[in-house]
């Protein structure tokens, strides 16, 4: 493929917007995803995106701003899961399963009965580059800025709470506030990236770059940097591939991330074997 063929889609504004959003969204999900993975919350990322779909549909039905309604719904869902786990002898995985699938089912029922508000149900579920507008770019940019500011100023309490919640709380860190703010940022991230990634694949963009970064480093700060860069690269390459091969943007971005995962998995195994051989020789 020639350079002109590669750059041809950049003549279209919708594609440029798609690339901006996918790259930013990939970086944002990579960054926030580190906390999701290290807190063993991978399933909540998946569940939250499904729950937000229900909020999106319900907000459309009652005439509330779609993003505001879906965002509030997402935060309420996350807090409801936490509340159920604290008040009843139910594991968090089961609580997430019940609450988020119920919300997703409600969304499907509402969309089937009253139609999809704003965008088609397919593009919400699987992502669609054609649906990306300039306002999506601004939305993802704004959420990214908020997430970066939050992580910058709350870096140490976030790390302490993620690593050792009990000790952090015992030594005076306001862990409940930190957890709540992180859930709000996570909900906003899912909401902002829904158009490009699609509800069903957002969890992968949250989890895959963070998992790859974890395989490549033992340092938390380095993991944040690698996951952010890897997420951005996956988004950029994925969007370009999706255009040239006529594939859904969300699934292509996830497949690029999966390729990085396989590379890191193989490279990590070889590095470990080599380190083991060196250690044995000593």
């Amino acid at each position: 493929m020639s350079w002109s063929e590669l750059t041809a889609p950049y003549a279209f504004e919708f594609f440029r917007n798609g690339v901006y959003v996918a790259t930013l969204a990939g970086a944002l999900c990579g960054l926030v995803g580190c906390y999701v993975v290290l807190r063993n919350m991978s399933y909540i990322g998946h569940g939250l995106s499904h729950a937000i779909f229900g909020g999106y549909a319900a907000a459309g039905l009652i005439g509330v701003n779609l993003f505001l309604g879906a965002g509030v719904w997402g935060v309420v869902t996350a807090l409801a899961i936490g509340g159920i786990v604290r008040r009843r002898p139910i594991g968090s995985d089961a609580a997430i399963g019940v609450v988020t699938t119920a919300s997703f089912a409600l969304g499907i029922a509402l969309v089937s009965r009253y139609g999809s508000p704003g965008r088609s149900a397919d593009s919400l579920l699987f992502g669609n580059v054609l649906g990306v507008t300039a306002s999506d770019v601004w939305l993802v940019g704004a959420v990214s800025l908020v997430a970066v500011v939050f992580i910058f100023f709350a870096y140490r309490p976030l790390l302490f709470t993620t690593f050792d919640d009990e000790v952090a709380q015992a030594t005076g860190v306001r862990t409940t506030l930190i957890d709540t703010l992180l859930m709000i940022v996570l909900s906003a991230t899912v909401l902002a990236t829904m158009n490009v990634m699609g509800v069903t694949l957002i969890a992968a963009t949250l989890v895959v770059p963070a998992v790859v970064a974890r395989m490549l480093t033992d340092s938390f700060s380095t993991m944040l940097v690698i996951a952010t860069v890897l997420g951005a690269i996956s988004g950029f390459i994925g969007m370009n591939l999706s255009y040239h091969h006529d594939l859904p943007s969300g699934s292509t971005i996830v497949l690029v991330g999966t390729a990085f995962f396989l590379l890191a998995y193989v490279a990590g195994g070889r590095l470990r074997r080599r380190a083991g051989t060196v250690a044995h020789a000593h």
Binding site: F152, R156, L159, F160, A170, G172, D218, S219
Partner: protein
């Protein structure tokens, strides 16, 4: 340490503290005072409420009744059981120590001044040069010291340790004990929980025997007596003197357990 004291001189005063998870109380009517320079070991059987009492003193758990009063500006550190640590978490020794300074607005990165302080505390605990190493890639004693360093980095006046020698070999256990004694001599108040009567508790200046409530508190020679230990552990115990040290041995009917033997001719 005394079982009742005044907030004027004390760092922490627990006054008739009862803590419950659900309906069943874990500790009942506990009185305990932590004075500056104390080195206190809380001993008792599994499920006696040792960790719960530590958390109540720290302020991590609100008592159902009674009150825990801490000096207003008291700085505390907590060293958890090593079994509770996620050793696969991506964190280096320096990052682990640095995360403890988490209050107020701070930059994500460790400043040059903080780096110097971290190096100093790592040096003090014999961990110099290990700042960039992952916490998993350390010996058991070094791992325990990293979490002590984290507590010291906050400038903690009182350090609480939950079973600090759990899972450590005899040599490492002694190292940790000596380190705690050195820190105590330098002015750090130490409160720890342990189930290890002979390895740890008998070496401490003050012991609190706990079984849901305080059974006895004071110097080892006053507390490590058969009556208090039997009431604490629910089983008769004997105290032997060996080389000037007190050794606690099980004196119950099942104390003598024969080794398993293969039947001859089976």
């Amino acid at each position: 340490m005394s079982r009742s004291g005044t907030v004027d001189t004390a760092l922490i005063v627990a006054d008739r503290v009862t803590v419950a998870y659900g309906a069943e109380p874990v500790i009942v009517d506990v009185d305990l005072t932590v004075e500056p320079g104390d080195m206190i070991g809380i001993v008792g059987p599994s499920g006696s409420g040792k960790t719960t009492l530590l958390k109540a003193l720290l302020g991590g758990i609100a008592p159902r009744s009674g009150a825990v009063t801490r000096r207003a500006d008291l700085s505390v550190g907590f060293v958890p059981q090593v079994e509770r640590i996620d050793w696969n978490f991506p964190v280096t020794v320096a990052e682990c120590v640095g995360m403890a300074r988490a209050k107020g607005l701070r930059t994500p990165w460790i400043s040059r001044r903080e780096r110097g302080e971290i190096d100093a505390v790592l040096d003090r605990l014999g961990l110099n040069g290990l700042g960039s190493r992952h916490i998993r890639n350390l010996s058991g004693g070094q791992q325990q010291r990293v979490f002590l360093a984290r507590a010291l980095f906050t400038g903690a006046e009182v350090i609480f340790l939950d079973e600090p020698t759990s899972g450590l070999d005899v040599k490492t256990r002694h190292e940790v004990l000596h380190l705690l004694a050195d820190l105590n001599a330098e002015g750090v108040t130490v409160v720890l929980s342990t189930h290890d009567l002979n390895g740890i508790a008998t070496h401490l200046p003050t012991i609190v025997c706990l079984n849901r409530t305080v059974i006895g508190a004071g110097a080892p020679e006053d507390v490590l007596v058969p009556e208090v230990l039997e009431q604490t552990y629910g089983s008769p115990m004997q105290i032997l003197e060996h080389g000037g040290m007190r050794v606690v041995v099980d004196a119950g009917p099942n104390a003598s357990v024969l080794p398993f033997q293969r039947e001859v001719g089976a």
